[in-house]
Assembly symmetry: D2
Homo-oligomer: 320 residues x 4
């Protein structure tokens, strides 16, 4: 594969070579493989920031449970939910089977056809995104992709996550219900919001950012999917330095979409998933959490053990 | 629908009338609607024993977390897992889409066609089973079933469950790795096992019964699916009286299968789901829990919010 | 089942009893089972007008082939075609498998999830429709439907059809490209159009009716699906008396939709499929045929042998 | 893409360079792109031997219809048919919808999840196979494949085929019901069988080869799929020179499988589909045709207009 890789790299350089000098200042460029691999978690590692999941992390979270109150953070999974255009959610009730013996047991089930790793409130794994065809820790797409899933980086490697959750309510900081449709959250926004909430981040945290966007879910699905406020490159790089277990938000991509820089497509996905091995938790339902001003809590999240999948739909909960 | 219901009931009486007198002693008979409805949780209730899920229940469970150790209780979801003959698990990797802007972001996802409410380690809701065509709290199939799910009793009503988990290791009580293929666990077995473990059940517990059957998963799938040891009618009725939140086990139906009484088909499904509104948690992976002799723990379980589904595949965890 | 059938019938009578007297003049009512069964093709017959398919019928059609010109009568099957809201057409290319031996054979295929009996240009079988729950020749839904298809009346019983095709161009008769959106074609329209074309119908013909509606396919899918001109009850009953093998048209239901009588829902479907056992051929592409004024031809049609299906997508051809 | 192509070609030469000299005599090697492109039908052509489909061809076939007898050549499509391991056929009856108006119209349909281009009796298009990643007329996989089909060479380009069909009954020539499981049909076999039947091939014919294998369909599916007799490289090259419209047979790949030369994988697929642009028609049901000794007939075949598909399931018919 060496020949291929070098060939493409050369072609790529040739293609961009003469057009980039004037853009370099403002445009984020993905790092080359040798600038980011092996990852800080070691060559061959497939868990990235999931490595933060240790007994001490769980215990720290459990100690935040003071009342036993649970707040559900996921939306309903149904055919009428917002869906990216390439995805579907088709349910079919299988007709009742009536078993014959004397207890007349009727049995029902349903068939679902859906991209279950990438629908509803969902958790992104590292097979989901790549820079060119190179994933987290420089696993290559054509070496790990098969017709029926990925042989490396599958979401089944993750398991239950339980850690301290910190909600950063940027909408509240700005005094609005919903941030502007194309608002890029800055590093300062995050720092001021934390300050306002008297909280600071710790390594291994689940950082959840509120933009207010989840209020549109089920009310204006077209607007919900069309683009949204969120973090950009600078905020993402600052967050990655705080060393979280995951970064979540209440919009489809967590990050601002489209990116204010038209040269790049969802760069935060690459910064988090590919460069730093930090999971993303998308489409969170945050109205109850923000309404009750709950900023620190135990976050519990159980990605399904879908072998070789790029992600998992999830039903996370905040507990305090 | 009254005419229909009475008509079928009459036909049913006529059909069975003359053949049952000699069987009455040993055969379990499902109670009539008026003997079981409304349920103890009230007319129209859709949550059954899920009503045990309250802050005090969560707090009691959280206090069992002493070390932060987590033990995964679910099997891998994959095409080569044991599957009931009417079900499937078909995964298709959708070819990588390479987004054009300068950051060359590759994107992957996969399509799944599967009965996701009823595969792998999974949690049964009340739309799953009925007596004749009458469900928990006497909701009628033809009034709540549509082509795309159930309008009542859907699994999306459940939400995260966190409660005290108690493992009853019947295999260990008997000194075997795996109980005999057709062994029916008795009330005494449960009581002696609890006594051996110095534990007693409390209302709202998640009661998990170990038969050792999960050792066959992925090793001898044909035997795993063919039939299995488990609780029968007597043990189920005793357990229901203990008022648990759910009853789980390490086999496909939790209960002994086939039932020793050839007149009945999986009666414990009706006793738990239909008569008592107690959820079942099936196909648990219990080897690590039993290996470490962990009998009491916080059980956390997040059924997906699949609107109108009869159940949900889950990835539960024991935490201590 | 007798108790059930009588019970529902009584309920039905009770429900309608007091509201129908004033409507009787204008509203079509489906005949009772004993007025239509057994069908003229005999008790237990599953082929209906498909019984016209005999060597003499084929020979008669073959003799119409004078030049060997073929005209395709089907639309493209693709995700962007007009689809009824309950249906889908989801295609997934399965990644190329490269076989290892020295000839380096790459292999591709694709997965389709679709209601393939009822999409695109398609052919209706007799399991598709019923009066209450009674089908052609009084087969009952609950006696022939399973989770995976119908045990009687399945489309696999049909096989290749080759017969004389007669196009009745009602749009041309009226001097328009497309009939009005809610125009109900009358018996006189059919008779005048045939007269204008110097043709008469014969038993066993495939009668194809042009409204011009197929011009909207792919151009204005929303309007195409919303409703359309077509035959109503009177024209359908006259056509059924001509004893055709099938009746086809260039709209989704062939018949006028909605029916001018708001009391009835697609009655021609019941008149053809249920009462008379005459197949419907829907969503035909007729622009080339009408453009060339080809009114008489050999029609060839190969319904797929989909066991137990209610219909089949088809790619029929006119040959002259 | 030039860099990539050259790079891979070099790697390929390097890989095989030292191991092939001794095999060259007996192993078929796929021709290089410049030895086979453009095809004889012209650069950019997507129809290959489908170009034989002209009015004169149809007329020639129609003149073979003397009695109007039709013989169905396709097997039943159902979940219990022989299926290659990567394929499926999952049918789900959608619960009856009962429409409310006074005519009580019940409506049924079913959902199918299947590789409908490549199941049952089926017709291979040119997107199905490649040499390395180069298809018929040197279209390249990565330039024509998308997540939802192929932008070139799709099966929707074909349309109805009607031509003279010639059955070559090799099993009858050998005096057996079924040829040996690994028998490679020779050029001489084809020539002698034609001589025995007093027939010769003409350009544009549909050549159908009987091995007897279709007798196993539904009776011994495991053996049916495991491997089969059929034509090899020599017979395929001779057949291609006769310039047929298509080559069909009564086994999954038409060709002998596995090929007697272990160095190559289904080379006839490449010879026909990739090098010569000749369609393959697989899994034909030939028992009735051979039983009646019908060797010359009109073959009619209607591939579905599945946009961008690699093939189509079909229900072809012989008419005489």
């Amino acid at each position: 594969m060496r020949v291929f890789t070098i060939g493409v790299a050369l072609a790529w350089v040739a293609l961009l070579g003469f057009t980039t000098s004037s853009l370099e200042a403002q445009t984020w460029r993905p790092p080359a493989d040798n600038q980011r691999c092996p990852s800080k978690w070691g060559a061959g590692d497939e868990r990235g920031a999931g490595n933060h999941m240790k007994p001490a992390t769980v215990l720290r979270a459990a100690q935040l449970i003071k009342t036993g109150e649970t707040i559900e953070l996921s939306h309903m999974l149904a055919a009428d939910m917002p869906l990216q255009s390439t995805r579907q959610f088709n349910v079919h009730t299988k007709r009742t089977v009536m078993n014959q013996p004397s207890n007349r047991r009727g049995s029902n089930e349903e068939l679902l056809t859906s991209e279950v790793g990438q629908i509803g409130t969902q958790f992104d794994g590292f097979a989901h995104q790549s820079i060119e065809y190179s994933h987290y820790n420089c696993f290559k797409t054509d070496e790990i992709a098969t017709r029926t899933g990925f042989t490396k980086l599958g979401i089944e490697k993750v398991g239950t996550l339980m850690t301290r959750g910190v909600l950063i309510d940027v909408a509240a900081l700005k005094g609005v219900d919903i941030l502007g449709d194309s608002y890029e959250i800055t590093v300062q926004d995050l720092q001021l919001a934390l300050q306002r909430q008297n909280l600071s981040l710790q390594p291994g945290d689940a950082v959840i950012i509120n933009t207010g966007w989840s209020r549109l879910w089920g009310k204006d699905n077209a607007r919900y999917m069309k683009g949204n406020p969120g973090i950009g490159v600078a905020a993402a790089e600052w967050l990655a330095k705080q060393d979280p277990m995951l970064v979540g938000g209440d919009s489809p991509p967590v990050e601002v979409n489209p990116n204010p820089d038209p040269q790049v497509s969802l760069p935060v996905h690459q910064i988090m998933l590919v460069v730093n091995g930090i999971h993303l938790l998308e489409n969170l339902k945050l109205d109850e959490l923000t309404g009750k001003k709950i900023y620190e809590f135990a976050l519990v999240l159980q990605p399904l053990k879908l072998r070789g999948f790029s992600g998992s739909t999830v039903a996370p909960t905040a507990i305090r």
